[in-house]
Structures are given as structure tokens and as C-alpha cells.
Amino acid sequence: MTLTHKATVMDEKSINQALRRIAHEIIERNKDIKNVVLIGVRSRGVPLAERLQKMLAEIEQVKIPLGILDITLYRDDLTQRLDNPQVHTTDVSFDLNGKDVVVVDDVLYTGRTTRAAMDALIDLGRPASIQLAALVDRGHRELPIRADYVGKNVPTSSSEQVDVKVKELDREDRVDILGILED
């Protein structure tokens, strides 16, 4: 299987613009911003959540708590995979009870990761609400899940891949669509 580059759909500038817009939408939607907490879904969701945290601090002068969620143990495909995915640590050091939780992920696709994230969150407490922010929504949902905040809607076919790179982990900011070449 070979991957070919098809298109670059976001660059550093548009990623940060999208995040800034999402930050404003979070403020608009949540009247009490002090009740909001951010949860980054490992791996790419974490730096995106950190950027949102920084932007919210600039706009509203509040420090929004940030937690890290690893959803590996909540996946629904564990018994179908040959390899176990590596488990990483969940790090949510604050109480989720009664909070408005904004889950941050890079790509919203089938909705299965979001389902797992919601189950994982509910095992940590009882939030007042759970909202979802995704940098890219590429469609093809398999569960009744939608995002509250979307950076960019990117129509794709299921044979394509969406590749998100973030500076913190990949040394550059960009979102590419890759095609799969059958050998």
C-alpha cells in the first residue's frame, strides 16, 4: 500500500485561524467560561487543546483547566486487531463533575473515537455537558455523533486518509489528503 499526496487543505495560518474561531465559539456558547474544561484526545488532540487553552486565556484572561485523555482501553475494536495499541496515560487532575467539557480531537471521522472518549470521560465523573471540537470533519459517520465546533469540513472518500500534522509533534502545521495506491 502506497500513499500519494492529493491536496493540502489547511496550512499553519488557516489552522490557527480555525482554532481562534473555535475559541470564540466556545466563549459564545458557554456563558460561564469558568465552568469550561478542555480535554485533549491523544495524540494530536492534546497540542490543539493546548493552543485553544492559550487563546482562551488571551481573549478572556482565564486559565481553563486542561486534561489529557487516552482512549485506547475504551476502543471497540480491541478484539479485532492483531496488535494491541500502546496504552498511554490519561491525565485529568481535576474534578469533571458539573463541568462543561470540551473534547478536542484532530479529525472527526467514524465517530468511534468520540464514542470511546465519552465513555472514558463518564468513568471519570459526571460532567454537566460534553461538547466536541474537531479541527477537521471528514464525514463518513458510523455513529450518531456530530461536532459542536469544526475547524474545516473536508469532503473525502473513505479510501482517502486525512493526515494532520502539528508543530508540537511533527514540526509543522498542515492538513493533507492522501490517496491510497493499490500495488
Binding site: D70, T72, L73, Y74, L78, T79, Q80, R81, L82, D83, N84, P85, Q86, V87, H88, T89, T90, D91, D119, A120, D123, L124, G125
Partner: protein, 309 residues
């Protein structure tokens, strides 16, 4: 590497440093779950485990059972004394019958060295060795490694002194294999009658006094002394043992300042070590117990998580 490519977990002797590292890393994530209010993840929903204990156990059995519950596996526990073994059924038949009920993993403690290996060869389910005779107690070894690794941030180049009845101790054997693979320096000390004849195969130094062994040690681990060894004449009395080989503050003066004190339990206070040491600042004895659950959760995940095909 993301998974253990093996059906069974039988001993640390056959594990690579890379595999041990994977288990330690995974244990850290599991440790976080034990600290939660709701200690449960759905990962092993629908998987079944049998705990088969042919020797008495409180800690290890409770630890395995809790690990299974926290991971949402279904489990049954059978004690050897109440099983069909007393009716003359062979071990292989017992387990094959339970396997026929859908069990996919068998955790076994057995008084005979090699029993877990024998079982692993004869059944399809995964086998986890929870202690076999004088051979190995690999989950205890792992939890000891994990506890030290968490405290010190590394295992390489740490000096670990293991003190007591090395000869009959499966805990010592698992620890020596595991620690050596991870690059630690291991020394042992105890009465000459309780030293194994085959120490050379481990490649470690042995001392006959505690003081010689603990010089600059980062970790001192006391082993449980079993009373039946006294009855067989290997040491004269508990009091004499405590006098010569018991750990106390005075004896540990030569160890490093932040030396960690460990014991696999159950502890004979005043024999293997003094109470003030067991309950004192350097003691990580209760942390070992917590780690035990995390390490066993990690193992269950790594052995049962993926598909077999």
C-alpha cells in the same frame, strides 16, 4: 513494539528487556486507573479468566482478581484444596474442563516448579504463572521492578541487594532475572545454607553478611523467611536469624541515603526487618502491593487484548 507476541507469561528469564519495558510502560497507564474514583475500564469485557491457586495466597490472588475486575474481565477462582484435584483429576483435565466453559486465560500458582510451563504446553488458553515452586514468581518480579522504576525513574545501574533465603525463593529468582535484564546490579546476602548452589548462572555476587551487601545499595529487598526451613535445619532459630541477617537502621547505614526498603510480604516483623524500618520513610512495601494490581492489569491487557489470529 506494541504487544507481547507470546501466548503465555511464565517467567522473567525468557523475557527480553524490550518486553519488560513495554509491560512497565503499560503498567504506568494502568496505575492511573487504580487512583480513580471509578476503578473500571471496559477493555476486557467478555473475556474470561480462571484463577487456579494450589497454594495459599492473599495478596497475589486478591491482586489478580481486582486487576480482572478493573479491566471488566469475567473470572472464577478455584482453590486447589477445594478442587477436583483432591478427587484425583489431573491438572490438565481440570483446566481442559474449565477451558471448555470458555475460559481464555488461566492464572496458576502451584507448588511444583515448572507446573505453569507444563500447563502452557497442554492448553490453548494463555497461562500466567502466579508462582511455581522454587522456580519463578514473575508477576512479583515485575511489580518490584515497576515500583523501583517509578520511584527512581530508571533501573539501569541501580544497585539492588536481595537479602534472606535466596535458595528457596521464587521471588528472588524472578527479581534477579528481571533486574539484570534491565541493567541493574544485583547482589545477594544470607546464611550460606540458604544460598543457591547455582549462583553462577545468574552472574551476581553473593555475601554472607548484610553489611557487605548493602554498601551503596539503592534498593534493599528482604525476602520472607519460611519457618519450615528452620524445621529442616537450615538455620537454628528465628532469633538467631534476626540477630545476624535481620534488617535494621544500623545495618542500613552503609546503603545510599535514599535507599528503598522492599519486602514481598507477608512480613515477619522483627525477623526479616524491624518494624520501624518496615513502616519508616524509605519503605515502599505498600506501594509494591498497589503496583501489583497495575502490573497485572497491564499483563492481562497485553496477553488478552488483541486477537489470536
Amino acid at each position: 513494539m506494541q504487544t507481547l507476541r507470546r501466548k503465555d507469561f511464565l517467567g522473567l528469564e525468557e523475557m527480553s528487556a524490550e518486553e519488560i519495558n513495554l509491560i512497565l510502560e503499560t503498567s504506568r497507564s494502568m496505575h492511573e486507573i487504580i487512583k480513580r474514583k471509578i476503578k473500571k475500564v471496559p477493555t476486557l469485557r467478555g473475556r474470561s479468566v480462571l484463577n487456579l491457586f494450589y497454594e495459599p495466597s492473599t495478596r497475589t490472588k486478591a491482586s489478580f482478581e481486582l486487576a480482572q475486575k478493573y479491566m471488566s474481565a469475567d473470572s472464577v477462582s478455584v482453590a486447589g484444596s477445594s478442587s477436583s484435584l483432591v478427587k484425583g483429576e489431573t491438572l490438565k483435565d481440570t483446566v481442559r474442563n474449565v477451558e471448555a466453559m470458555g475460559v481464555e486465560c488461566v492464572i496458576m500458582r502451584h507448588p511444583v516448579s515448572g507446573a505453569a510451563h507444563y500447563l502452557a504446553r497442554n492448553i490453548e488458553s494463555s497461562v500466567i504463572n502466579a508462582g511455581d515452586g522454587m522456580h519463578e514468581h514473575p508477576t512479583q518480579g515485575l511489580l518490584d521492578l515497576y515500583t523501583v522504576w517509578e520511584k527512581k525513574g530508571r533501573l539501569e545501574e541501580l544497585k539492588v541487594a536481595i537479602v534472606g533465603d535466596i535458595r528457596h525463593s521464587r521471588v528472588a529468582r524472578s527479581n534477579i532475572w528481571g533486574l539484570k535484564k534491565m541493567g541493574a546490579e544485583v547482589v545477594v546476602a544470607g546464611p550460606p545454607t540458604l544460598m543457591p548452589p547455582d549462583l553462577d548462572i545468574f552472574g551476581i555476587k553473593a555475601f554472607h553478611t548484610i553489611e557487605d551487601a548493602v554498601i551503596n545499595a539503592d534498593v534493599v529487598m528482604a525476602l520472607r523467611l519460611q519457618k519450615e526451613r528452620q524445621e529442616s535445619g537450615l538455620f537454628p532459630s528465628l532469633r538467631e536469624y534476626a540477630e545476624l541477617y535481620g534488617l535494621n537502621r544500623e545495618r542500613l547505614k552503609l546503603a545510599s541515603d535514599d535507599v528503598l526498603i522492599m519486602h514481598p510480604g507477608p512480613i515477619n516483623r522483627g525477623v526479616e526487618m524491624t518494624s520501624d524500618l518496615a513502616d519508616g520513610p524509605g519503605s515502599i512495601i505498600l506501594e509494591q502491593v498497589t503496583s501489583g494490581v497495575a502490573v497485572r492489569m497491564a499483563l492481562l491487557y497485553l496477553l488478552l487484548g488483541g486477537t489470536k489470529e
